[in-house]
Amino acid sequence: MSTISAVAAHDDHHGPEKGLLRWVKTTNHKDIGTLYLWFAFSMLLLGGAFAMGIRAELLHPGLQLMEPQFFNQLTTMHGLIMVFGAIMPAFVGLANWLIPMMIGAPDMALPRLNNWSFWILPFAGAILLSTFFMEGGAPAFGWTFYAPLSTSFAPDSTDFFIFAIHLLGFSSIMGAINIIATVLNMRAPEMRLMDMPLFVWTWLVTAFLLIGAMPVLAGAVTMMLTDRNFGTAFFDATGGGDPVLFQHIFWFFGHPEVYIMILPAFGVISHILPTFARKPLFGYSSMVYATASIAFLSYIVWAHHMFLTGMPVAAELYFMYATMLIAVPTGVKVFNWVATIWKGSMTFETPMLWALSFVMLFTIGGFSGLMLGIVPADIQYHDTYFVVAHFHYVLVTGALWGIIAAVFYWLPKWTGRMYNETLGKVHFWWAVISVNVVFFPQHFLGLAGMPRRIPDYSLQFADFNYISSIGAFAFGLSFVLFTYIVVDCIRNGKPADSRPWYSAKGLEWTLSSPAPYHSFNTPPSRADILAESQHS
């Protein structure tokens, strides 16, 4: 362990600057975290609005509201905005706010780079959204942008989409480098790796996944760019290439990507459950090893997304068995969460409600993932609404649930105020019921054979689609209440204690609420770190 202190004491102990330019110039991890979170939230509302359009079209069979081409643009942009605009930036925002406080650091390791990581996003988002207004419309090939749909048969705006992806990739890679440098180099000198809270651990692993996966995506879109404009033949069989190659490269990025979106949520849940069950986290070290195992496995299972695109049988078998293996570390996690709350003195404040429902609903998504990972079964399920139901259970009731749980859990620390607990509970029950009304029937639709990414469907699918759409409108509306709760908390909330949750552990709770502008000017002592650690 280094003897050099992480003290950040500045000669100039100033707070935030005045005026709007503060947000442009800021190098402060809390300011940047706030920017990330608000950006992600506005993208969530936008992507949600696209989803409302999709479900409105699917309310009844037959074409109702829009041209099929526009419907495809909506599904594509819904996916891209939610993945790259909402979920990923929201987790980076949480990382910015929380990691320095959790490891006893003054700030992130590379504060200027941190600012750039954020400030690329609005530009990339603007380029991506501008494609809606171009001739030929926005990309309409689905968020997975398979060749040749995205190369030979795509609108001109696709090249703008490609550069937007490049920019988003820069942002993610710089953010990930910063998080790794922060965790490895900015920890309080007395904090060992196995003292770190799980949110920090899961983010460290996630950052590694980002640096490994995002450059591969950059390579994929670069090949698309040259195939489209400069006559290369990567994805074109007439030139000796192969469209399936695109899928391999895409999913080599895409599978780690789904863990990028869920691992930090695992971390969040591992903080909330012990607090409200008033018990230490069960199996801290096995949680760490499970996280690392999931990350490793995520790199060697990508082709389970491609069982129907043509692969040697030996490869299908390998990818099936490797995929099944992921159930082991994930099972360890779910087991540990259940063991954590087992015989705990539980109370059901809003963050706990979100965390508990995460464990149940994410597990449903995990199990449907196992079903999809079985080659012979996947031949039936592939490209049906069953897949849509599966990944919305892991991404909405998994990743997004983790983010919302984190917002309620740490909002008192961020704002110094408590949210309205009654409204929080109302919102939770509203959201958790409606989200299941949206997505549970989609399992049945998929098993009955309804394909995904279509604006129209056969009559026998009408009832479940109707139910799903009604649920979607209700779920969408719940975010109006969510917005109100957050704004109301910021403006009118009752002052919060520095440790608003009795028995919450973690160094962030040793700071005042709201947390001071510079987190730790003197690193916490070994005794403080041990007192706040998640060890049992």
Binding site: A8, A9, A124
Partner: protein, 292 residues
């Protein structure tokens, strides 16, 4: 515990300038490839802003570094940052090497009916899988581009072998430069740095010459999958050598200015790591693109 402080900068405009620059550049480039008249100047403007930002931002960092406000911990941050940045670059090249291996081992033989793909021989009558793939299965691509057929292969034991020797030697000379720096042998340091840069520039010159030969003998970006992998792999590598050579030149300038001493010279080491990375990528290219 010592009382050294971790330097946290306040308020900076460089990132937002960088964002404006890089987005302007990409928007200009996207318009340029769609033959919009203002595409090229806008792209140039964006690039200018980006270069201005790099000078300004890195200049600020250099000034902070020589004024001595960075401690050992900041130095370690830079080391972690540079290492993981290079790892991200490795993964970028991995995507293109992956495409190369996939084409060579799997998809090109499949087009000739290997692996029980019983329909492909019917689709591409008379197609023979070879590597390098000189004759593509179809003359016209799906995008309507004609794939040129028939080209002369680049002889690996001509210019590519010379280039391998040049780049490997430059890896040795930069190591000598580092040893000289650690012993404060200033003149030797400058000499080895100049040698490294000269070797890098020679490499680039030969690479451009070789591109000229290859192009005249029919190997183009539009020559199908061989041309695609050949030019994108060597092209991105050449771009990285160019960036590396520019960085080496900046480091040489900073050596002249006396910015480094035997203890404190992370910038030198970071560039040296980058140079070695470029070197290793070239070895992969020489073996799998030119030779085997």
């Amino acid at each position: 515990m010592s009382n050294q402080n971790y330097y946290i900068p306040h308020g900076t405009y460089w990132p937002i300038i960088g964002s404006i620059g890089i987005s302007t550049m990409f928007v200009g480039f996207a318009n340029l490839i769609h033959d919009v008249s203002w595409g090229a100047p806008v792209m140039g403007l964006g690039l200018t802003i980006l270069v201005f930002m790099l000078f300004g931002w890195l200049g600020t960092v250099v000034n902070e570094s020589i004024s001595g406000i960075y401690n050992k911990q900041v130095d370690r941050t830079f080391r972690w940052g540079m290492s993981w940045f290079i790892f991200s670059e490795v993964m970028f090249f991995a995507a293109f090497f992956g495409a190369l291996f996939y084409a060579r081992i799997l998809s090109v033989p499949w087009l000739d009916g290997a692996g029980n793909n019983m329909f492909t021989p019917e689709l591409w009558e008379g197609f023979k899988a070879t590597w390098p793939l000189v004759n593509t299965p179809g003359a016209i691509g799906q995008s309507g581009t004609a794939f040129s057929t028939g080209f002369e292969l680049v002889n690996p034991w001509g210019l590519p072998a010379i280039n391998t020797a040049l780049l490997l030697s430059s890896g040795v000379t930069i190591t000598y430069a580092h040893h000289a720096l650690r012993k404060d042998h200033r003149n030797a340091l400058i000499a080895w740095m100049i040698a490294t840069i000269v070797l890098g520039v020679l490499f680039l010159g030969f690479q451009i010459t070789e591109y000229g030969h290859a192009y005249h003998e029919g190997l183009k970006l539009t020559s199908g999958i061989y041309g695609s992998t050949f030019y994108l792999l060597t092209g991105f590598h050449g771009f990285h050598v160019t960036v590396g050579a520019i960085m080496l030149t900046v480091i040489l300038y900073r050596i002249q200015k006396g910015h480094f001493n035997s203890e404190n010279h992370f910038a030198f080491e970071g560039v040296a790591w980058y140079w070695h990375f470029v070197d290793v990528v070239w070895l992969g290219l020489f073996v799998f693109v030119y030779w085997l």
